[in-house]
Amino acid sequence: MITAGLDLGSRTIKLVLFDSGVRSSEVIDSGLKPLDRCRRLLGDKQYDKLVVTGYGRDLVAPELSGATISEISAQAAAVRFLYPDAASVIDIGGQDSKVIRLNEKGGVLKFEMNDRCAAGTGKFLEIMARALELTIDEFARTSLEAKRSVTLNSLCTVFAESEVVSLINKGEDAHAIALGLHQSVVTRVSGMARRVGVTGQVIFAGGGAKNACLVRLLEDKLNLKITVPDDPQITAALGAAIIAANGKNQGE
């Protein structure tokens, strides 16, 4: 049986076809008409079941005759599949960040998620990269190369952005600013991680894990070794496909 997992994120849409392993995966931008994009992405692909996750799941699932699952359960399922001994998951997504603790069976034991504000999410980094006139990859690289950091006073996206602008105007080094910004995301996320009580093997899943600076800073801050899957961006979609394979179907 082939199952499909679709992750409708705020920035990108991910599709995974699964058949006891990842058969294929694709990532595209969400754009303004995500439903149309999902339809095109699914195209004439052959699959037996579809499960949709991500913040747009309730919007598109009924249109595509799929079931839904929260991103949290989806990440848990994928991480457990990839790393049978994993105990905790960190996911820094476009607009939500989550920390999840798994139980012995791989289910969700406890989780935390950022509240409505963008601090500690990918959105925060995206806006700050723009303020520094860097692409997101350059931004991560810049901060990895930093020798020192400036401490940002504000975790709030709006205020941090003006702080960045005024630091640049004062001639502050872009490397140091970039590192300071990454640190502020990590401060937020590690606060959540402590509340959840991350232990054991920690997997950093989701798109944010592609940012090597975040990985390093999180390891330092939490004093833990963090594992990043080969293709962290597709883990939620993979989890959805796994859940589809394990029996979740439309109407369940």
Binding site: Y55, I72, S73, D96, G107, F111
Partner: protein, 424 residues
């Protein structure tokens, strides 16, 4: 322009007809979507649909009739204010609602933004002249259960008579003595307002009436322990919310009829959700009418809410006042003591609340608890840390959510709630 009878009445009460019209136009569709779309509702809810359908009409008219004959209307915001005195002295107590985003921007013209939505909503109702219940009341009674409210009442007093009861922070000997005195002073205040004396007889009657309503609510709560649940959490919450401003005897009748119907359902094994649906207990800040947001999200995700450990729930009906006491002094003491048992987060310590939550969860066979916190409500937010610990120890899963009345975070809330339900 010709005004309808209701509009005529509202304009006499000084309501801003235009904004009020917008509020009413918004409420109708929301009610339809949240309430009328439910399947297999108890017939007893018909009364509540009717009440909400004319939410600022019939009841306000009753209150005005009462006032025309010289009767007084006393408005409150909190379950600490003893309604028995009002009934005893021939006044009508109404609990003001403050559960809509609609009145928040109006309030933010004056109040700080980082104030809880309940405070802003209630103040906005007055400032924007949006609420006929505020307009029709002769006295608003506040209390010192939280600092934000306490200060808001001072501002409110610039516009309408306000009387504030001091609720102690500790249930110590001194705290109890203070509260005993506050209750007696409030009695005197109501006597002065109404010109009627509160006696053993009329207070005894009032205690019985309010107790009767509390008993029916306790019965309703017990019926919700059945699986499948005979009534949705949304409907039970609505019945509670409406009871807080409606006539006490009429509510006792309505809830009794509802309970009789639910009892039949339980016998037949009928419910509003399939047997085995996930059962959730809500605990935390009050949900004033028309704040149905969390209940709606949870129940739309397929779970069923089986109880509210809240002021618009158990804290409203839990404790009874002993009946049949033959002298006024002892009655007052017993009454004050009953109210002091309210497990509000304003108390330190407030361990009784933790016990209550666990007991309710067990009695109602809840699979999990959602701790509901109005954003910027510091007492409940901080107490949630202890709730978290106590529930971890009791082995009951907990999800903490912090939100306000706006819809901005509906998507995030839904993700959290879905994940929590999937996890149970």
């Amino acid at each position: 322009m010709t005004l309808t009878a209701n509009e005529q009445m509202w304009s006499e009460l000084g309501i801003d007809l235009e904004s009020h019209g917008q509020l009413m136009n918004a409420l109708g569709p929301i009610y339809g979507e949240i309430y009328l779309s439910q399947k297999n509702r108890p017939q007893g809810m018909g009364f509540y649909d009717f009440v909400v359908g004319d939410i600022h009409g019939i009841r306000v008219k009753e209150l005005r009739e009462h006032a025309k004959d010289g009767g007084k209307v006393v408005a409150t915001y909190c379950v600490f204010v003893p309604e028995e005195f009002c009934w005893a002295a021939g006044a009508i107590p109404v609990s003001l609602c403050a559960g809509t985003q609609f009145s928040v921007p109006v309030a933010e013209e004056v109040l700080p933004r980082n104030t809880c939505a309940l405070i802003k909503s209630s103040y906005g109702f007055k400032l924007g002249r949006l609420c006929p219940y505020v307009q029709v009341s002769h006295l608003i009674v506040g209390e010192t259960t939280c600092d934000g409210k306490k200060k808001m009442f001072e501002l409110l007093a610039e516009q309408q008579p306000v009387y504030v009861m001091e609720v102690p922070n500790k249930r110590s000997t001194a705290g109890r003595a203070l509260w005993q005195q506050e209750v007696r002073d409030f009695k005197a205040k109501i006597e002065e307002l109404t010109g009627n004396e509160i006696t053993v007889e009329n207070l005894g009657e009032a205690i019985k009436k309010v107790n009767a309503r509390r008993r029916e609510f306790r019965r309703l709560s017990a019926l919700r322990a059945a699986d499948p649940a005979p009534i949705s959490g949304k409907d039970a919450l609505l019945a509670t919310q409406v009871s807080m401003y409606d006539d006490v005897e009429r509510q006792t009748q309505m809830i009794t009829a509802l309970n009789d119907e639910l009892e039949e359902r339980v016998k037949k094994g009928e419910g509003v959700a399939p047997k085995g649906a996930k059962r959730i207990l809500i605990s935390g800040s009050p949900m004033a009418i028309p704040n149905w947001k969390l209940h709606h999200i949870v129940e739309s995700s397929g779970a069923i809410i089986v109880g509210e450990e809240s002021c618009t729930g158990s804290r409203f009906y839990n404790e009874l006042i002993p009946e049949g006491i033959g002298n006024l002094e002892d009655m007052l003491t017993a009454l004050a003591d009953r109210y002091l048992k309210t497990n509000c987060a304003c108390f330190t310590p407030n361990t009784e609340r933790l016990d209550d939550i666990i007991k309710m969860a067990r009695d109602l066979k809840a699979d999990g608890i959602i701790h509901y916190n109005l954003q910027f409500c510091h007492t409940y937010a901080n107490e949630a840390v202890q709730v978290d610990r106590a529930l971890a120890e009791a082995g009951i899963p907990l999800l903490r959510v912090e939100t306000d009345y706006s819809d901005e975070d509906a998507g995030q809330l839904k993700t959290r709630i879905d994940a929590f339900l999937e996890m149970l």
